[in-house]
């Protein structure tokens, strides 16, 4: 293998006084789902050969030493037999992960003269090296591309498998390379390469889902409620006896969710990419997450010593479905209170405090009691009043207060079970939902469920009859301030679904109807 490294030093005593410039590469690390700039400085000085990395590196960054050294040698370059110091600035920020391999390697090649040091200016670099000099993908490529744009870096070099995802950000030329050698050749203009183009086809199946609402007979009330939930992003609680179809209904929800807007799509991809669960392309479908009830608090909210987003963040702009709601541990459920109200989760750990977006539509299902048949038409409930109270009490009041739609899913009648009534297909519902969502975005730029304060009062102004009905309902139902707002938002969505410019009595009545449940006592 030809040794191409330029080692121009003369073998005499004078070399210890040759001053070599420090070479810099621009890279990034993650803080939450956003990228923050990290400068990789490499200095080579005369002295016993050595290779040290400073600047608060974690174990994976320390190990970059071995990977970089071997990858440089195996790519046919010479690793300088000098004292090499790598500094990752700013020094106070903890650097994690193997994504600094490529910037370190390129800066080392720059000090040893293989690539011109000035070629690294204005170029963001990120990537993990394998021992043979090949590049492996990194987490969070989209955030990195966005960070590069924010830092006004015109070019970004990263592993080829992250290229498509990063290219979705306009304003940055993204180059996907397969090997360290390609990266070096690209920088020293030995290789022509054109920047990646954003690919139009993301991970979308065009709204086609295996589960269709057409397969569900009966349950028209529940279907309508889920349509409202999907259109406005409202939280729903499905309650009813076992076997009535709560889970089946919820699982069909993804098929009627409105399409993601471009901005939402980028946000969702950032979260998934930071969690390492992204498919390498832009996410085009609203996420639907259904964690098991044994999930831990940090599994749901996010966390860990190298913090990762939890299920509530992975469901950002989508649906978080909690089946068997009361079976979740109470502490776990309570962490949902902040995200449901603010749309993000703040995680404080020793290392850092960070915030993940978590604007979800919460859909949960529960039985009314331990045996499941309280309030049922046919079967007699075997539970004592105390048992029922304890069971329902597992879900705290503050959490129930954040539910917009209480949806009864009763047992199906014989006619419904045996009838061959063909229900409306998901596609038709989805069209209505998408239209209603579009109306909302045009009017206020956010879904109705996020409306608050003055904006809420403007958009959900009531007139005459509806005002009178609402005043009455506030007294009779004893609505809390929060519940009051929630009813208004739901009424707005119902009005949007029927294309009405203002909230009429029937819209408000439907919204109020969703406040009460035969099965769940509040």
């Amino acid at each position: 293998m030809p040794v191409r490294g330029v080692d121009g030093s003369k073998n005499n005593d004078e070399e210890s006084f040759t001053i070599m410039p420090v070479c810099r590469a621009r890279s990034q690390t993650h803080l939450g789902i956003d990228a923050v700039p990290v400068e990789v400085e490499v200095d080579v000085s005369a002295g016993l050969p050595g290779f040290a990395i400073v600047g608060l590196p974690d174990a994976a960054v320390q190990e970059a030493r071995e990977r970089v050294r071997v990858a440089i040698t195996n790519s046919g370059y010479k690793f300088p037999t000098k004292k090499v110091i790598v500094n990752l600035a700013p020094a106070h920020l903890r650097k994690e992960g193997p994504a600094f391999d490529l910037p370190i390697a390129l800066a080392v090649l720059a000090v040893s003269g293989v690539v011109p040091p000035e070629s690294l200016e204005g170029v963001g670099v990120i990537g993990e090296l394998s021992l043979d000099g090949g590049l492996r993908g990194v987490r969070g490529a989209l955030s990195i591309a966005e960070g590069a744009r924010r830092e006004k870096l015109p070019r970004l070099i990263l592993p080829e498998m992250n290229m498509t995802e990063a290219a979705s950000i306009s304003g940055v030329e993204v180059y996907g390379v397969k090997t360290l050698r390609q990266a070096a050749d690209l920088l020293s203009n030995k290789m022509e390469m054109s920047p990646a183009h954003p690919s139009p086809n993301g991970t979308s199946n065009g709204g086609l889902h295996a589960d269709d609402f057409a397969d569900v007979t009966g349950q028209r009330y529940a279907k309508r409620a889920l349509e409202v939930a999907a259109a406005g992003g409202h939280n729903a609680l499905l309650s009813g006896p076992p076997g009535s179809g709560k889970t089946m209904l919820a699982r069909r929800l993804p098929g009627i969710l409105p399409p993601l807007t471009m901005d939402e799509s980028i946000e969702v991809t950032k979260v998934h990419s930071a969690a390492g669960t992204g498919g390498g392309t832009l996410v085009k479908e609203r996420p639907f997450r259904a964690p098991h009830h044994t999930i831990s608090t940090s599994g749901l909210a996010g966390g860990g010593s190298n913090p990762r987003p939890g299920e509530v963040s992975l469901a950002h702009h989508g649906v978080l479905f909690l089946d068997e709601f009361p079976e979740f541990s109470r502490g776990t459920l309570e962490v949902l209170r902040q995200p449901l109200e603010d749309g993000h989760v703040t995680i404080s750990r020793v290392a850092a405090t960070l915030s993940y977006p978590a604007r979800v539509t919460l859909v949960c299902s529960m039985n009314p009691c331990p045996c499941g048949y309280a309030g049922d038409r046919r079967k007699v409930c075997r539970c004592s009043a105390g048992q029922i109270e304890r069971y329902q009490g597992r879900v705290s009041g503050p959490l129930l207060d954040r539910i917009d739609l209480f949806v009864d899913v009763p047992r199906l009648t014989r006619e419904e079970l045996r009838g061959d009534e063909k229900a409306e297909p998901s596609e038709a519902i989805r069209e209505r939902v998408a239209e209603a969502r579009e109306t909302q975005m045009e009017r206020q730029d956010v879904p109705n469920s996020v409306l608050a304060g003055r904006r809420l009062r403007e958009v959900c102004a009531l007139r005459g009859d509806s005002e009178a009905l609402f005043s009455q309902a506030i007294d009779r139902l004893g609505l809390s301030g929060r519940a009051h707002d929630r009813v208004l938002r739901v009424a707005r969505t119902v009005a949007d679904l029927s294309g009405a410019p203002a909230i009429e009595v029937e819209h408000l009545a439907e919204a109020l109807n969703y406040r009460s449940s035969r099965f769940v006592d509040r």
Binding site: N11, D13, S16, L48, T81
Partner: protein, 92 residues
């Protein structure tokens, strides 16, 4: 030149030289090829601490007068043809 192959318990110093006021402890490494790495790379942290320890013994025994002391490493790569000599001042 003050001493050559100064050997004490725990190790050896190849050369001890005097350069003006300075006392120089020199480690000489010879390699016949780079198959096992550069000769300079063979001076590991462990080797360095050995040399330091022996140098301390030397200073204790001889009590020489000096204003600065330093450790140099000379790497000699003797392949085919002209050997390559690298001298690193104040190596550690």
């Amino acid at each position: 030149m003050v001493e050559k192959n100064y050997r004490r318990r725990g190790g050896e110093i190849d050369l001890i030289l005097r350069q003006g006021e300075a006392l120089v402890f020199v480690e000489v490494k010879l390699r016949r090829g780079v198959g096992f790495g550069d000769p300079l790379e063979a001076v590991t942290p462990r080797k360095q601490s050995t040399i330091r320890a022996v140098a301390e013994q030397y200073l204790a025994e001889e009590e020489p007068e000096f204003s600065e002391a330093r450790f140099d490493v000379v790497g000699i790569l003797a392949g085919e043809g002209q050997p390559r000599v690298q001298h690193i001042r104040d190596a550690f």
